[in-house]
Symmetry: C2
Subunit: 216 residues, 2 copies
Amino acid sequence: MSRAVLHGYFRSSAAFRVRIALQLKGLDVEHVSVQLRKGQQQSPEFIDLNPAALIPVYVTEEGVTLTESLAIIEYLDEVAPQPRLLPAAPLERARVRSLAYLIACDVHPIQNLRVLQRLRTQFGADDDAANAWARHYIEKGLAAFEVELARSPKTGRFCHGDTPTLADICLIPQVFNARRFQVDLSPFPTVLRIVDHCATVPAFERARPEAQPDAI
Amino acid sequence: MSRAVLHGYFRSSAAFRVRIALQLKGLDVEHVSVQLRKGQQQSPEFIDLNPAALIPVYVTEEGVTLTESLAIIEYLDEVAPQPRLLPAAPLERARVRSLAYLIACDVHPIQNLRVLQRLRTQFGADDDAANAWARHYIEKGLAAFEVELARSPKTGRFCHGDTPTLADICLIPQVFNARRFQVDLSPFPTVLRIVDHCATVPAFERARPEAQPDAI
């Protein structure tokens, strides 16, 4: 048994999610920085670890390699269940997961670094065009997220009730990205209220990109 | 209590996933077709059902609306656990989920209809350029999926062992898309072997796009 390892990158939304989950659960792991801007995710060693050339990668204490941020977080929630990142009841779990996937499937993958890079290489997109693409998907996604939050009595101080869940874990990195792309967040008051509340929680603060040793 | 309803579309990968899960579990629901090509997902009635304007949407027997295919399938697996679509052990569940998300997060959202349409409107992409974009992400995703399958002793007749899981449920619709985009699948022999095996399972066959009443 050795210490678990998270291969991540300070600015990666997906790695940021796993950092929040680890912090909420008080799990201490070794952090290895994979420099995406330098293409380190394409190195033979990294491809051997994760053939998809994506971070995060989590290596358990037993040496088992896990990929995909949400699979890692569900695993952590199963093996270290306190505090729970998903509610107990199936309908509640479904609401939290649907909010999480609205970001993790329908926003983030379409605006991440590798897709914006391909817009440049395949379509000659400049910074303005790539940023407009990213903003389009972030705005559409957050608009739907806001409606879901604002109209549900299940929304509390966090996205679901008064304790952090997988939904908040996906929301906070997406809002970090939204700000990088200068998305106007004023149409999303419930999102902003929850983001402000998460900022008061040390686990979210410690997981922030700017707080990581590899932040540049 | 009334009958559960699945709002879907014959060709939607995400709806196809939920149809496979329902068929595997022997759950009979009402199917409502949302004609994506006609923009019915943008109608006020549909936006009220799902502000993200995406299918599938599942309305439970109690009238609760659930969105996001993987949230719906995890819900079904929790309330109707036989046959299980996820293994019991956390590390096994993580493997199945990571395979599922490799497709559901890192391939499908980047090559779906609305993204290809935006490539046309924002970058003037023609059919060839849009198809090349889709093929690029499908090929990269399936290549990683193939390596993960081929190198793991946990791969069986299906992606994980000898019973269908969430991983197969995501794989089959993605391969359907790959064939539509004329991706050469010969570099992915393990994927093809599993696809062929799934084709012998009535639940997968009944869920196929061509077998749906709204198929055109």
